[in-house]
């Protein structure tokens, strides 16, 4: 085996990256847990927040609104424990893409709603302007976290890593 100068740098990279991954994973877990917890207390309001986007009939929005907080909390728990991290990251990314699309379409159609991302939601009182820009930037930031985990799902202190040989030791 030939040792090149490059391997030293790569070894350091592979030592640090899983720890960065842990931070990213816990950060995204916190996002989902907070988002879910803020909605779970009033599922009817969550349904109204979904309906406010006017992209689906109220009866469907009602179901989506009731299910969403529970799915968000479950995603948060999966990421917190580091169970099926790549899958959880993929579902997170998919959800966030839907949220970004929803907010963008609300913006384009000129609706005046609160995104309902962390509780509240629905129509804004007259005279209040929506803050779609910051909401979108925030969601894109979360999407970046999910993207990181999708590419590098192997993180330290996770159930995924327990009892399984580290992937880098195999090659």
């Amino acid at each position: 085996m030939s040792v090149t100068v490059n391997t030293v740098g790569e070894t350091r990279r592979s030592a640090v990256l899983p720890w960065i991954g842990t931070a990213v994973r816990l950060g995204l877990a916190a996002v989902w847990l907070l988002a879910g917890a803020s909605k779970v207390g009033d599922l009817a309001a969550s349904g109204r927040a979904v309906a406010a986007y006017e992209v689906m009939p109220y009866d469907v929005a009602k179901i989506v609104g009731a299910a969403l907080p529970f799915v968000e909390i479950t995603l948060g728990v999966l990421l917190l424990l580091g169970v099926a991290t790549r899958l959880a990251a993929a579902v997170s990314a998919a959800l966030l893409v839907v949220f970004v699309a929803g907010i963008t379409s609300a913006w384009v159609r000129g609706l005046t709603i609160d995104c309902g991302c962390f509780g509240t939601g629905g129509q804004l009182p007259a005279g209040q302007t929506p803050s779609y820009g910051p909401e979108l930037l925030r969601d894109l930031g979360f999407l970046a976290l999910a993207g990181f985990l999708l590419v590098r799902p192997h993180t330290r202190i996770s159930v995924d890593a327990m009892g399984a040989p580290r992937p880098e030791e195999e090659q």
Partner: protein, 237 residues
């Protein structure tokens, strides 16, 4: 090249392959479990929501036939008002437009249907919107909806706090001429809580996204006195 070294290498390859296969199996099964957990969580959410909604409701006296609100007045033009007792814009609406509507009711021109929705339960620590709306149902049952509603808006608590206590809700009722015993029992028993849910659900279904929202003869109208008066005049009645 010794054959022993070759055997060792072969054994290592086999071990690696087996380890890889185990890892693949593990990933597969955790993924299946995770997907199942997400699906089940979603179904639990729907189940919890469905079980929270009462099938039956008991509407107070003065309620419309569909139980969606409390009717005041008998004029030919119907004005629907969707409001939440915790919503500051509703309080503003009540102080500015309320007297105009009262006059129109007194003149026999309109019938006002108040829909006290509970949209802002999360904006207080005690679900004040629901509690106030159910209390207003009790007031309607005692024949004092308008008076009680005005008094509640006058004493509207700030968003984010605990709202008015049950005792305060009862005392305010006494202040507008309701019998505090009957009224108090009605509130404490939660007699109209399921009605509040019914009112809120019907409003959500109708597409009411915020409060206050006003309709004149079924048509959405801006919530200003001028706009409402113009819409009433336009009906020609």
């Amino acid at each position: 090249m010794s054959s022993r070294a070759g055997q060792k290498r072969a054994a290592k390859v086999v071990r690696q392959q087996m380890a890889r296969e185990r890892r693949r199996q593990r990933t597969l099964w955790t993924s299946v479990l995770a997907v199942a957990a997400l699906v089940i969580a979603g179904m639990i959410g729907w189940g919890v929501f469905a079980s929270q909604r009462a099938d039956e409701y008991h509407a107070p006296a003065g309620a419309t036939a569909d139980g969606s609100g409390i009717a005041v007045g008998t004029g030919p033009v119907t004005v629907d008002i969707y409001e939440d007792f915790l919503c500051p814009a509703c309080r503003q609406f009540e102080t500015q437009v309320g007297p105009v509507l009262d006059q129109l009711v007194a003149d026999g021109r309109i019938r006002v249907v108040h829909h006290p929705v509970a949209y802002l339960d999360r904006a207080s620590t005690t679900g004040y919107s629901s509690r106030a709306s159910a209390a207003a149902g009790c007031a309607a049952d005692g024949g004092r909806y308008g008076e009680y509603s005005s008094a509640l808006f006058e004493r509207q608590p700030a968003e984010g706090g605990a709202g008015l206590s049950t005792d305060e809700l009862i005392r305010i009722g006494g202040g507008v001429g309701l019998d505090e015993d009957t009224f108090g029992t009605c509130i404490r028993d939660g007699r109209f809580r399921s009605w509040t849910e019914h009112v809120t659900d019907l409003a959500s279904e109708r597409g009411i996204r915020g409060t206050p929202t006003v309709f004149v003869d079924g048509q959405p109208v801006q919530n200003s006195a001028d706009a409402i008066r113009a819409a009433i005049d336009a009906t020609g009645r």
